[in-house]
């Protein structure tokens, strides 16, 4: 019995340590954002956020370009989410329910794309974008981000549709419904959690994407937050508090969204998901 107690204490301590390590960097981001210069550069830094300096967030949004960056990120992320899920559903359905020539090849191609680094593809895509006049446009980023996250979305959705008993569809078809109606009426409601998971994955794939954005966007007005924040590293003069405030605002939606949708994302993931 005693041994059990000790084990329990040790376990609690271990869990607390793990949680501390997991959360500390974000906590530190907040503390840094809410510290005065004196605190930051003092011999002993302050370890708790100075809530009185909360105005730094308001300033970061009001004065700098941060609000515009976040808005651009939002546009890119929503566009990517809609497009990749919109294209991923029929693709996943086709892969799950039909047999057709080239299916094996297509599956292999989808898997293969997962190992292509963005940094490798950025040069030829740059040429492609120039030809189609997609440089310096958020549309271009939506398209390329969708193409990169689409295979994952489709594979997750295929897995989800695989799990739906065929009998349900056959019942629908007996009523004379066409394939597309079967998909929308019968399958979609049943795989809603997986759709939610892929939507979150696609959204944050685009929200976080950096390589394409930094290469394809020249106009500062169109920069997403990932590029804006990365540019802070080495930019003269922006106070670290502002940098951390913006980075925190950039991180918060991602973390909050993942926590809220965690149940679905995790089930989607464990059914074979991949985060970009």
């Amino acid at each position: 019995m005693r041994r059990f107690r000790l084990g329990l204490t040790a376990r609690i301590v271990a869990v607390l340590v793990v949680l501390g390590v997991a959360v500390f960097p974000l906590y530190w981001m907040l503390v840094t954002a809410l510290s005065s210069n004196g605190d930051l550069f003092a011999e002993r830094p302050r370890l708790t956020p100075d809530i009185g300096r909360f105005g730094v967030f308001v300033e970061a949004l009001a004065e700098g370009k941060a609000a515009g960056w976040l808005l651009n990120s939002l546009v890119i992320a929503v566009g990517t989410m809609v497009l990749s899920v919109g294209l991923g559903i029929p693709l996943g359905y086709a892969l799950s329910r039909f047999s057709f020539r080239g299916k094996a090849v297509l599956t292999v191609v989808l898997l293969f794309t997962q190992m292509l680094p963005e940094a490798l593809m950025v040069v030829p895509l740059f040429a492609l974008f120039r030809r189609f006049d997609l440089l310096d446009s958020l549309t271009g980023l939506v398209l390329v981000n969708s193409a990169f996250v689409l295979p994952i979305v489709a594979l997750i959705l295929k897995g989800a549709i695989d799990g739906i008993p065929r009998e349900l569809e056959e019942a629908g078809r007996a009523d004379g419904a066409r394939p597309f109606t079967v998909l929308t009426r019968i399958n979609l409601p049943l795989i809603a959690p997986s759709i939610a998971a892929t939507a979150v994955i696609a959204f944050f794939h685009a929200w976080n994407e950096y390589v394409f954005a930094v290469t394809f966007i020249f106009d500062p007005e169109l920069q997403p937050a990932s590029v804006g924040i990365a540019n802070f590293i080495g930019e003269l003069g922006t106070p670290i508090q502002t940098v951390m405030a913006v980075a925190f605002l950039f991180t918060l939606p991602a973390v909050a969204f993942y926590l809220l949708a965690q149940k679905y994302v995790v089930s989607g993931m464990t059914a074979g998901a991949v985060k970009g």
């Binding site: 960097p25 830094p45 039909f98 997962q114 040069v123 976080n208 670290i240 059914a271």
Partner: protein
């Protein structure tokens, strides 16, 4: 990716793909209509650029004038393989990938076992532990750089306080400590993913078997090996494969923390390829480096499939 194929649907359902019977869902064109838009997309944004990249790897092309390429055959490959710096890059890539796999899967397993037991607040703990994985890579690179700052970073202050300070303090500028620091950051970001996936794999461990083993007087370690490990082994294998592929293509975190430096200490293949393309402006060599990476990934995937198949056979026997 491959996870899906292997852990995804039970076999009975996979068969329902109906490979051999004529599709009851309409004409033979129907599937193509469903997949055409997506396939077109992947063709335009992945296949075409990849083909172009393959072509570039056999040319000398400069970023300043990317439309003019000069065919040079295998020159780029000969050059990079003859370059000792590239050998170092391969070695660093190898070390980085192995350390990521071992670190992320190992940490993930320990955390999953910790969180697998019931206790109050477990839900909250499970949620909080996923925070690092949800945080955007850019933000992670930024906060890591700040925490590792030589003069004011919290890490250096702590190390100095306990007398373990790095001389000069500049962890990310030291060829010795930069790679460990980047690795620690990477693993910090990855372990939530591995632990969540392993946690759900652990749900499949039959509790009665576990109890039976304990009653039989088997030690914890023996029970773990005999019961738990057997159940989660395939998941561990798949996670290892996934971590390998992700680590082979990881870019932002390393680029923003060190740009591959100092003195190449953190230069993986992808970093090397990017700086060849955009710093040295040599698109040809960059493409050649990229091809090496792609071939390595292919070998890893094929190899892992062969291993998986062999293991499966073993199990059947």
């Amino acid at each position: 990716m491959t996870v899906l194929e292997q852990t995804g649907a039970p076999k009975t359902i996979r068969r329902s793909g109906g490979r051999h019977r004529p599709s009851p869902l309409g004409s033979k064109w129907t599937p193509y209509l469903f997949l055409a838009p997506a396939a077109l997309f992947i063709l335009v944004f992945q296949a075409v650029p990849l083909a172009q990249e393959v072509y570039l790897s056999f040319t000398r092309t400069t970023l300043l004038n990317p439309t003019r390429s000069e065919w040079v055959g295998l020159d780029n490959f000969n050059r990079i393989f003859g370059d000792p710096d590239f050998h170092r890059t391969l070695l660093i890539t190898f070390v980085y990938v192995i350390a990521c796999v071992v670190g992320a899967v190992g940490t993930g397993l320990v955390v999953a076992l910790l969180l697998n037991k019931g206790f109050r607040g477990r839900g909250v703990a499970r949620a909080l532990v996923t925070v690092p994985w949800a945080a955007p890579g850019i933000a992670v690179a930024l906060i890591a750089t700040w925490m590792l700052n030589a003069q004011y970073g919290i890490v250096n202050r702590l190390l100095n306080a306990i007398g373990l300070g790095v001389p000069g303090g500049a962890i990310l500028d030291s060829p010795r400590y930069a790679l460990p620091a980047v690795l620690a950051t990477t693993i910090w970001q990855l372990f939530p993913f591995t632990s969540v996936v392993l946690l759900s794999a652990l749900q499949a461990v039959p509790q009665d078997l576990h109890e039976a083993a304990t009653v039989d007087g088997a030690g914890r370690w023996a029970t773990f090996r005999a019961v738990t490990w057997q159940v989660i082994k395939p998941t561990v294998g798949l996670l290892a494969l996934l971590m390998t592929i992700w680590s082979l293509r990881r870019f932002e975190l390393i680029w923003l923390m060190t740009k591959g430096g100092p003195v190449g200490a953190t230069e993986t293949l992808v970093i090397d390829l990017y700086s060849q393309a955009f710093d040295s402006k040599e698109l040809g060599s960059a493409a050649a480096i990229g091809m090496v990476g792609v071939v390595i990934s292919l070998i890893v995937i094929t190899g892992s499939r062969l291993v998986a198949r062999a293991v499966e056979k073993e199990d059947v026997r």
